[in-house]
């Protein structure tokens, strides 16, 4: 009892104005911020890969496979922040055993499995199959058996089989685009469906989430492509980078316009919540929204991208601008997630008071766990890249077959 009272007193001290007793403490903390950020990166990276596959944007070939692997490594970690946030994480599996079709959150498990099993893994498998077979033939010992296991025993490299791979890959990508939209649009859908919360309750929410996902995914691929190329001592393909920059700037303009539209509409509507929301923006969210999301995370990178893409600057300068812009975009999109998730809980339903969020350092819902969760996808990506090097072969430049190849 004393502890509860002490906590309450501390929480009350952080609140201003008129706030209901059950609103002092925020229940969705940084883990729930990390989660949409991760799924956004997945959807964005996959949509970038789809551009090359479906719309034949050949300049993006160097990042196609890398994007798929990135999407996979981030997707594997995406549910972990949610599980870490649950009191009884093992119960999460029950949504597969007893599907609840009327609950968006429960159905997400199926969206996730669909995206992982039917879209990403299948697309990767079809895309890599020919290379996997070749690696199996070239390798010796355990590695050989490992690659054979990866090929699932499907070792045919006949023209028909390869043609089927290409056709299946294209078909899966076609299914994959709406699936990627579903995967991340759903997160916005969940927030947008909370009618009682004026900060979240907006039909634009899924769309805004989706475009910010595309922005963050493309920016992440810019970073990963530049860093991996640098570590491989290769030259960066400027056509590819410029194309990435172009898509990035287009996606950013759409994303920023949508957010601005949402903001202007709220302002014009001026519902009774507008006073507390503006108070929240000017007090609690000033740094994370105005400074971090809008100035550092949107306007500055847009200016850098426009300069790199449309001004006559040397390639070296362009690379630097792209790199800086991509980092700033990550900061901006993370701030976007922060502002949406925490912003919706900082003001009272009485519309007359604000509470505060104290970020823990340690503990399951703390900063360190979040940092670990953000680093883990890169570790997985490192392993995946070792197993399935994205810069060899591929559907666009068939590898020469190993001598042991026997046409079926």
């Amino acid at each position: 009892m004393e502890t509860i009272l002490a906590n309450a007193v501390e929480a009350i001290a952080g609140a201003t104005g008129y706030i209901y007793p059950n609103e002092f403490e925020l229940h969705w903390g940084i883990l729930i911020v990390v989660y949409p950020y991760l799924t956004g990166l997945v959807a964005g990276a996959f949509i970038l890969a789809s551009l090359e596959r479906v719309f034949k944007v050949s300049a993006l070939i160097p990042v196609y496979r890398l994007s798929l692997l990135t999407a996979l490594s981030f997707l594997l970690i995406a549910p972990l922040p949610l599980l870490a946030h649950l009191g009884r994480p093992e119960r999460a599996l029950e949504m597969f055993l007893t599907p609840h079709t009327k609950s968006a959150m429960a159905m997400f498990g199926f969206v996730y499995v669909w995206y992982l099993m039917v879209v990403l893994l299948l697309e990767l498998w079809f895309d890599y199959r020919q290379d996997i077979i070749n690696w199996a033939r070239k390798s010796t010992g355990l590695k050989k058996y490992f690659y054979y296991a990866l090929s699932l025993g499907s070792t045919s490299t006949s023209d028909e089989a390869l043609a089927f791979d290409a056709k299946a890959g294209r078909f899966i990508t076609l299914i994959g685009i709406p699936s990627a939209f579903l995967l991340h649009g759903y997160v916005g859908f969940i927030f947008g469906s909370v009618k009682a919360n004026p900060w979240w309750s907006s039909v634009l929410m899924p769309i805004v989430f989706l475009f910010s996902a595309i922005v963050s995914g493309i920016a992440l691929m810019v970073l990963i492509y530049m860093v991996t190329t640098m570590f491989r001592w290769k030259r960066i393909n400027m056509d590819c980078l410029n194309k990435l920059g172009l898509f990035l700037i287009v996606a950013m303009i759409v994303d920023f316009s949508l957010e601005l539209l949402d903001f202007i509409q709220r302002l014009y509507e001026s519902e009774e919540s507008i006073n507390i929301l503006s108070s929240m923006i000017s007090n609690r969210l000033f740094i994370s929204l105005i400074i971090s999301q809008i100035i550092i995370g949107s306007i500055a990178p847009m200016a850098a991208l426009v300069m790199a893409r449309f001004r006559k600057v040397p390639d070296e300068m362009k690379r630097m601008l792209y790199f800086i812009a991509a980092i700033l975009i990550q900061v901006g999109i993370f701030s976007t997630r922060w502002n949406v998730v925490l912003g919706g809980q900082l003001f009272s339903k009485s519309l007359r008071g604000l509470t505060t969020y104290k970020l823990e350092m340690f503990g399951l819902e703390g900063l360190f766990v979040s940092i670990v969760l953000l680093i883990m996808p890169f570790v997985i990506l490192f392993v995946l890249v070792k197993i399935l090097p994205p810069w060899e072969g591929g559907h666009h430049e068939p590898m020469r077959l190993a001598p042991a190849e026997s046409k079926k």
Partner: protein, 245 residues
Amino acid sequence: MKKVPQQIIPLAIIFIVAIAALVTARHFFVPETFGDYGHYRAASVDEIASQEVVYAGSIICNDCHDDIYETKMNFDHRGVSCEVCHGPAMAHTEEPDEYTPRIPRIRNQCTICHGYNSARPSGFPQVVEEVHNPGRPCLECHNPHKPLLPRAPQACDACHREIALQKAVSHHTSLECKTCHDAPPDHMSNPRFARAQKPTSRALCGKCHDTEADVSRGIPRIKLATHNENYLCWDCHYPHHPEAR
């Protein structure tokens, strides 16, 4: 007949195995009574019902304590169940001499509802525990079964109780009503015609809140001459309100 592509076979096997595993898992892990009433295990209802009952409910108290129950039902705590203050009493109903419910003598029991909290409805009886007769149990002055004020309402709070209760936890708690309001002598007998006056000048508030005022330095100050001089103070600052700024 067209040949099935070779790749389809292992994939089909994997998907069939996965679906079969899910169906099998459902068979073993989904409880038998799941879904009988809704999206939950129906047997859990019986399990919960079979748990030991610790709360008896107010009505059973009436069997033995009808005098107290009757009193309570006629006053403002009628909606508060006996066990809210006295704790779970099922054992007492079964073995009255063996188990006696507690009588709350600590102050923080009552302040769960009556401690000042800005989120409570305006006019709800509240106290700031630290300054309201510190250290003395609430029961000394208040009877929770008949929660009336320990003294009869005086002059103003007889009619303006809500305002009085609100003012009691505001910054102006120590001021008398007449400090700011002029009430003609027959206001009490004929309030509609002999109206009490609200402050009509800024100077009244300025006596304490002007930068020039000669009062305690802890009181918030403002330069009255230049601070929104076209308005009365209480157009913006409601003086009875605990959160008034």
